[in-house]
Amino acid sequence: MIRDVEVLVIGGGPAGLCAAAAAASLGAHVLICERDYVPGGQLVKQTHKFFGSEKQYAGDRGIAIGRRLIEEAHQNPNIEVLTEATVIGIYEDGIVTVFHRNQHIKIRPKRTIITTGASEKFLAFPGNDLPGIYGAGAVQTLMNVAGVKPAEKVLMVGAGNIGLIVSYQLLQAGVEVVGIVEAAPRIGGYLVHASKIRRAGVPILTGHTVKEAYGKDKLEGVIVCKLDEKFQQISGTEQDIPCDTLCLAVGLTPLTELCWQAGCEMAFIRELSGHVPLVDENLETTVPGIYAAGDVSGIEEASSAMVEGRLAGYAAAGSLGYEPEKAHERREAAAAELSELRSGPTGEKILAGLEKTAAKLAARKGEAKGC
């Protein structure tokens, strides 16, 4: 049996929940497929307060924002949330297949919003397969979701926002953080996060990398060394740092498998952290009716992911004929919010990336006209 759905949202994280709420607010019926046991995505473990403006709930903690979005989704009669539902295929005839609690479900959506988020990158170094070496996300899940103290003594790799925030949360959990190693010559995350953990006594070693990890059956320590301006290791600068856990926070990459499978035109955009689907001003991909919002179309903050979700939700519902004027108005407001969030120095990178995708999209349209 094939189930007909008006708007299918793939992924119940910040972008997906906001996309669903936006589309449902205009009257569209939405089904959210979330592969986890609970919706909320990364919000369920973000115990820190969010940046941004009131419109993105700034000053509230990520967990509280998640709770609010989930509650709103559950209370909205136009939204159905399917958990433990992994979307495994988008086919040429528009059928989407879902693996849900040991069952194979087929869905025929009129519109699909892909909000699958991102996955963590890994780092190559000798010994990186030792037990005790984690992605920062896993450590954060253990601590903040499962309530498990993940380590006694941690070395963090990466001084972007995730590395800085997870280091702070490790300290809050009573774990010793011996330092943060960052290959770049500068701290990449927000400096207020860096200052917060620095004044708790955690050194941040910029221009350093992991040379190797060692240990007999599990991690016992890490050799770090300095890097020159060409990111080459400088011999003689090695430092032995004993620790039981090494936490990697070396960036995210968009989770785009479904976009590829759906036939969306993709491009590698460095500023957006990997291969991303080309999307237009409505966040619609080159496959009509399929939208992409949040980290899947470029790694950015959760606040922007939520606004992107809303934008795609309004656009999708509007295109189905639900209050087109209101949809347009709200879409414009969301676009203005995004511009505001991205207007400062921290938004430069993402804007450069988006410019590249826009250029590629324009070139593609030009080609289509030519033939």
Partner: protein, 167 residues
């Protein structure tokens, strides 16, 4: 440098420090926020409109020291925990500083806590005058610490735990 170490420099701090004349008038908020990031809850928190993040949310906050009365609402609201209240009129020898704090255990009023500077270095043991618990949703606590006046612009944290009883 701040961007390499996370420690604001003396010059950075000077750019956000009120005059001694202003300090002599009572408590005041100091926003140690030096990077243009999209964020403005401090502005929204201030009932007196003493904090401006203008013309857009990517600017760093500017505190109007003549309007600010050091109430401390912005301190708990700031997502970056970058706002501190300093009252140099607390006593003849001591200043009262208010710090945002998110660690357990919390100190008790009257206990001594180990004060840390912006690099996390120990600055001495100082009496905890008051502990203001965080609100149900916000959760950030405020620690009021009495420090010698010359350390009012140095102490910015306390070590969690190991608090000592009595002066």
């Amino acid at each position: 440098m701040l961007i390499q170490t996370g420690i604001p420099s003396a010059e950075d701090i000077l750019t956000v420090t009120p005059s001694e004349e202003r300090f002599a008038k009572g408590p005041v908020a100091i926003a140690e926020c030096f990077q243009k990031i999209p964020c403005n809850p401090c502005m929204m928190a201030c009932a007196k409109k003493a904090i401006r993040v203008e013309p857009d949310i990517n600017q760093t906050p500017r505190v109007d020291f003549d309007v600010c009365n050091g109430c401390g609402v912005c301190l708990t609201r700031c997502p970056g925990l970058a706002i501190f209240i300093v009252d140099k009129t607390y006593s003849d020898t001591e200043a009262l500083i208010k710090l945002p704090f998110e660690f357990l255990p919390l100190p008790k009023e009257g206990q001594l806590a180990c004060g840390l500077n912006r690099a996390g270095e120990e600055m001495g043991w100082f009496p905890v005058v008051k502990v203001i618990p965080g609100s149900k949703t916000n959760k950030t606590c405020t620690i009021c610490l009495a420090v010698p006046k010359d350390l009012a612009m140095e102490v910015r944290n306390i070590r969690a735990g190991g608090y000592q009883d009595g002066r």
